[in-house]
């Protein structure tokens, strides 16, 4: 039997999903009542009155709930999930607005009816009287603080955090060269194809609650809902069905609907379901990415950074339930593979009257990579050095690993890189894209009247954050292996990679392994799927649990065969003496033998009953032992493991229409040891597509009153296959992590991280003026050209108003 680990096997999930046999939230609960919500049409307003009288005779109406109807903790503000000492003014929303609304889309009234159509019809008849207040929209308005989102939060500042390693200001001041940059990334959103959704059933006889929810953390929802509803954890099951994408928006919990729907199901004694529609998703879920950054950098004649001083402002929206994870990630991960002489970063997280922010695949890193990589390019331009050379000179070297940045990462632990080889990655990337030969490509294009440019960007990504994940591996008497882990799946291919790991550890065919994720009935302790952590955390736990099960199976089989456990192996599901295929006992039989029985319920069970024999002087189950071939183990690493990568792109910009076409896109990627290269490449492909989206298309166009102008897929544009380069060229580097038993690092978010940075660099190279704000549409690029033409810039002048020489 060949090893499964490292093989590019096809995903076991795909057959079912591609046949349309997946079961997503809305495929469940056809007998359930439907919930619909009256949501605020105003960005900021006081609720004067709610008049439901017009809806009371609506057909199919079951119940209408406002804030006043919610008892005790159900109606209280949602939890602030991740507190932080810097988060001095944390505010969270109510499940149903109490007295004030702070963004368009905030839920105000819940309607339950016999179906969704009737629920929406009834909702339309409810009249809410609002007293509008001035809206705070965007980073700049929040900073100006002419108006406040929350009257008791001065300056709209939720959190303010400074971290430093060395005296960056002094280092910048003393440096022979200095630059200042103003860099901006717009608001965007991950927009999974399946929105949020929750179904709840209250069993009136067993008095237990069962919840299905489209989440990235079933255990998190379970704990939060149990606390809100005053139920014992043991009386709540949370099951994650197939999930049509999460990308971070579904890690926040509990969403208002995740509290209200279970509560309504309990109150009404009937199943209730809510399925978010696309319009709701735009205004009632979450966005990310909106940040403005000011960079002061000092460097020597070779381009080495002596001091880096970054201040940025993060738009966290109306509330901050997920804390300051995103800006902390930006502030630490913008360092990438580099080691500035001194570093200082300061951020303010600001309230605005817009949708809340949750991590969106990349989670603050795309902004960080944009800031650092634009800075690298500006240094190269200032010194007239090759852009790759400046990067090389600032790299942390392989011999310097583990490398301690002297900062605290998002998991509250030191920012220490465990492994990586950045010079090797850059050399591969240059070869892959033909960096050194590009001037010839540019000349040839120019001769045809075409304008092309090349750019690159590097990143380092802390993956596999703790605190822990666990796994349970059971060998059934049939010989089948059941693996359960608590974190959830949103289509990543966990069923495949966890089965690969378990199959190899146990020595069974992969077809004998079945994996369950995200079901609190199967595994109750878990954190969730985010931060590119599933493979590292649950993958490691599955390996450890499978090793424990294997050790037990060998022990039991060795006793039965009167052989030494050291001489045993498991091959193709048979436990045998090494090199002696005739000696073996099938794993299923070993499972039978491991469980002494009084009752024979089938032929196999007869072999384990009390008159079969064995040592009658010892207990049937030895002291400290357990029946069954099982392993239950947890993996809890000391800190995150740091994956890395570098992307390069060649773009063409149309001289007339300012359209941008990505001609080539190359990726060198290092996520440690690969479990399944096909799945990693799939993650990269999807990430790159999302990165192209973030660079060229996606933005949340709010007007000054806080109305979202592009809240549909007609105007919020995602890249299609026609916008993503035909071939994404990938090369893997495998620098194993010393922090987990498999040497792996996360890969889920990587592809998206340098997207805006690399495409901005390539456009800048094609156009000859700095690109300091992303995304960039043809219209934006056209206006930039006009501005630079008007200000008398030439294609050769590389610095402008937004990149100022300091001092």
């Amino acid at each position: 039997m060949t090893s499964m680990f490292g093989e590019p096997i096809a995903r076991v999930e795909d057959d079912r999903l591609l046949r349309g046999e997946g079961a997503y939230l809305d495929d469940l609960g056809h007998d359930a009542l439907a919930a619909a919500f009256v949501r605020s049409p105003h960005a900021h307003a006081v609720i004067r009155d709610i008049d439901v009288s017009g809806a009371l005779d609506a057909a199919g109406l079951v119940a209408i709930y406002t804030h006043e109807d919610l008892p005790g903790r159900v109606g209280e503000p949602l939890p602030l999930l991740i507190p932080h000492p810097a988060l001095t003014h944390g505010r969270t929303g109510y499940p149903l607005a109490a007295a004030e609304v702070n963004h368009v889309g905030e839920p105000v009234v819940m309607v339950v009816a016999t179906d969704r159509y009737l629920a929406e019809d009834a909702a339309e008849r409810i009249v809410v009287d609002y007293d509008p207040l001035p809206a705070v929209v965007g980073v700049d308005a929040a900073r100006a603080a002419e108006h406040l989102v929350h009257p008791d939060v001065p300056g709209n500042v939720a959190a303010h955090l400074v971290q430093a390693n060395g005296d960056a200001a002094a280092a910048v001041a003393a440096a022979p060269h200095r630059l200042e940059l103003d860099l901006y990334i717009e608001r965007s959103a991950s927009t999974p194809l399946e929105g949020r959704g929750v179904l709840a059933r209250w069993d009136t006889e067993s008095r237990r609650l069962r919840i299905w929810t489209s989440t990235q953390t079933s255990t998190g929802v379970r704990a939060a809902v149990a606390a809100k509803l005053g139920l014992a954890l043991a009386d709540v099951d949370v099951i994650t069905p197939d999930v049509g994408g999460g990308f971070g928006v579904k890690i926040v919990h509990p969403w208002p609907e995740e509290v209200l729907v279970p509560w309504a199901a309990m109150t009404l004694g009937r199943p209730v379901k809510f399925t978010e529609d696309r319009s709701e998703h735009f205004v009632a879920s979450a966005h990310e990415r909106g940040q403005r950054h000011q960079v002061r950098v000092g460097f020597d004649d070779d381009g080495r950074i002596l001091g880096l001083d970054v201040t940025f402002w993060h738009d966290n929206g109306a509330y901050i339930p997920y804390g300051v994870i995103v800006p902390i990630i930006t502030s630490t991960q913008l360092l990438g593979p580099y080691k500035p002489g001194a570093y200082r970063v300061e951020f303010s997280s600001l309230y605005t009257n817009t949708v809340i922010v949750t991590p969106y695949r990349g989670a603050g890193r795309p902004q960080g990579a944009f800031v650092m990589e634009r800075t690298m390019d500006a240094i190269a331009a200032e010194l007239d050095l090759d852009r790759t050379l400046v990067r090389e000179r600032n790299f942390i070297q392989p011999g310097e690993m583990p490398y301690d940045h002297g900062l605290i990462f998002q998991d509250g632990r030191p920012l220490i890189y465990d492994s990586g080889d950045y010079p090797a990655a850059l050399a591969r990337l240059k070869g892959l894209i033909g960096w050194d030969e590009f001037e010839a490509v540019r000349r040839a294009a120019r001769a045809e009247g075409r304008r092309v440019g090349i750019g690159l960007a590097c990143y380092v990504e802390g993956t596999g954050v703790g605190p822990y994940e666990g796994a349970h591996v059971v060998v059934e008497t049939s010989g089948k292996v059941r693996v359960a882990t608590g974190l959830t799946s949103q289509g990543q291919g966990h069923q495949t990679v966890f089965a690969q790991i378990a199959a190899d550890e146990l020595g069974v065919p992969i077809t004998d392994v079945e994996v369950v994720t995200g079901d609190t009935r199967a595994f109750g302790y878990a954190v969730g799927t985010f931060a590119s952590r599933a493979a590292v955390m649950s993958g490691s736990a599955v390996a450890l649990a499978a090793r424990a099960a294997r050790a037990k199976a060998i022990r039991v089989a060795a006793a039965a065969l009167e052989a030494s456990p050291d001489d045993m192996e498991i091959v193709d599901g048979v436990v045998r003496v090494k090199g002696d295929p005739g000696s073996g006992i099938a794993l299923g039989t070993v499972a039978v033998l491991s469980n002494p029985l009084r009752y024979a319920f089938d032929e196999a069970a007869r072999a384990a009953t009390q008159f079969v024999g064995g040592d009658l002087s010892t207990p049937p189950v030895a002291e400290g032992d357990e029946p069954g071939i099982e392993g239950r183990e947890y993996f809890s690493p000391v800190r995150s493991t740091f994956a890395s990568g570098m992307h390069a792109a060649i773009v063409e910009t149309d001289p007339d229409t300012a359209e941008v076409k990505v001609l080539r896109y190359c990726v060198v990627h290092d996520c440690g040891t690969l479990i399944n290269p096909r799945i990693v490449e799939g993650q990269i492909h999807g990430g790159v597509a999302q990165g192209v989206g973030g660079a060229l298309y996606e933005k949340m166009a709010y007007d000054e009153t806080g109305q979202l102008q592009n809240a549909s897929f007609m105007d919020f544009l995602m890249p299609y296959v026609s916008e993503v380069p035909e071939r994404i060229e990938i090369d893997h580097l495998e620098t194993p992590s010393p922090l987990n038993p498999l040497g792996i690092k996360g890969a889920g978010e990587a592809g998206v991280i340098p997207g805006s940075a690399v495409i901005a660099a390539a456009i800048e190279d094609a156009e000859g003026f700095p690109i300091t704000s992303m995304p960039i549409s043809p219209s934006d690029l056209f206006e930039l050209r006009r501005r630079h033409a008007a200000s008398g810039e030439t294609a050769n002048a590389s610095q402008t108003a937004s990149v100022n020489r300091a001092g």
């Binding site: 339309e124 319009s279 007339d656 592009n710 549909s712 105007d715 916008e723 549409s777 219209s779």
Partner: protein
């Protein structure tokens, strides 16, 4: 909401007269979006999909009569088996415009009559119909009339139909020369146009036709640009000689088209970008159309 389902044109016109508040529903690709976004809550919908008289097309002398219920998919002239239908060959400009509409699903549902009924400034058929000097055939219980396309668009999403009228067909002069259509959006496919442009060259009548989309409150013609180009073609004897177009003519034509637009800034693009895009689209489509005209001349010369 009342849902009216006439089975014939007579029934449809009677229903339209009896329920002037009813919103006609053809493919539903505009109406259903508005209902979904709760921008509209009409008292009644008048479903026209069962009215056989609205489907199909025929060529009659110099005019092609396209039924209001003809879909974009039919207009594209693409056969599922490959090759092109007679309609696609007959009206290449409309075929080009129809190919840029939405997704295959939208092209299967959306109709030319529905496009005109919505009268959106971004409607993809409109620039071609303006450029080719088409007429809209409207009917009511009072009778039928033809509305010249130049008089049809009266405001943002407003048209010249009376409250009791339905669009029954579009009458398109069969082209005697090349037609081109192009649009620009932020994304390559399935995107609402930032700007669109159509050009029709009619060597028989020595006429130039133009149509602009997404760059004014209604679809509009660039009349000055038409005159400028027609004058240049006639003055230099280019219709006859089929010689190369002077660069200056192409540039001036683009500028004149751009000048005819009165676009706004919105989430899809700035007014300035739309004007620039129109100048580019006009120059490029003119170049392609003239290339086609010259190629047709060479073929005729050989034949």
């Amino acid at each position: 909401m009342e849902f009216l389902r006439p089975e014939s044109l007579g029934e449809a016109l009677a229903a339209r007269a009896a329920h002037p508040e009813a919103v006609p529903l053809a493919g539903g690709t505009d109406v259903m979006v508005e209902l979904n976004f709760a921008r509209r809550r009409p008292a009644a919908l008048l479903d026209l999909t069962r009215v056989g008289e609205l489907t199909g097309w025929h060529a009659d002398g110099g005019t092609v009569r396209v039924g209001a219920g003809v879909t974009y998919a039919e207009l594209t002239g693409e056969r599922a088996s490959g090759g092109q239908t007679a309609l696609g060959r007959l009206l290449p400009g409309l075929a080009m415009a129809a190919r840029t509409v939405g997704s295959p699903q939208i092209r299967n549902r959306g109709t030319i009559g529905g496009n005109l009924g919505s009268a959106s400034p971004a409607g993809d058929c409109h620039p071609v119909l303006l450029a080719s000097g088409a007429s809209v055939e409207a009917a009511s219980v009072r009778g039928r009339r033809q509305v010249p396309i130049d008089d049809f668009f009266t405001g943002v999403k407003r048209n010249a139909l009376a409250p009791d009228e339905l669009i029954t067909a579009v009458l398109v002069p069969a082209p005697g020369g090349p037609e081109q259509f192009a649009k620009i959006g932020t994304r390559n496919a399935m995107v609402i146009a930032v700007a669109a442009f159509a050009i029709v060259l009619d060597p028989v009548r020595r006429r130039v036709g133009t149509g602009i989309g997404s760059a004014a409150p209604t679809p509009v013609r660039a009349v000055a640009a038409e005159r400028l180009l027609a004058g240049a073609l006639a003055g230099d004897g280019l219709w006859e000689s089929r010689g190369p177009l002077p660069e200056q003519v192409v540039t001036e034509f683009g500028q004149a088209v751009s000048a005819a637009a009165s676009p706004i800034d919105d989430v899809r693009g700035t007014a300035g970008y739309r004007k620039q895009a129109l100048a580019v689209l006009a120059s490029r489509t003119l170049g392609w159309a003239w290339r086609d005209y010259r190629a047709a001349g060479q073929q005729a010369g050989r034949g």
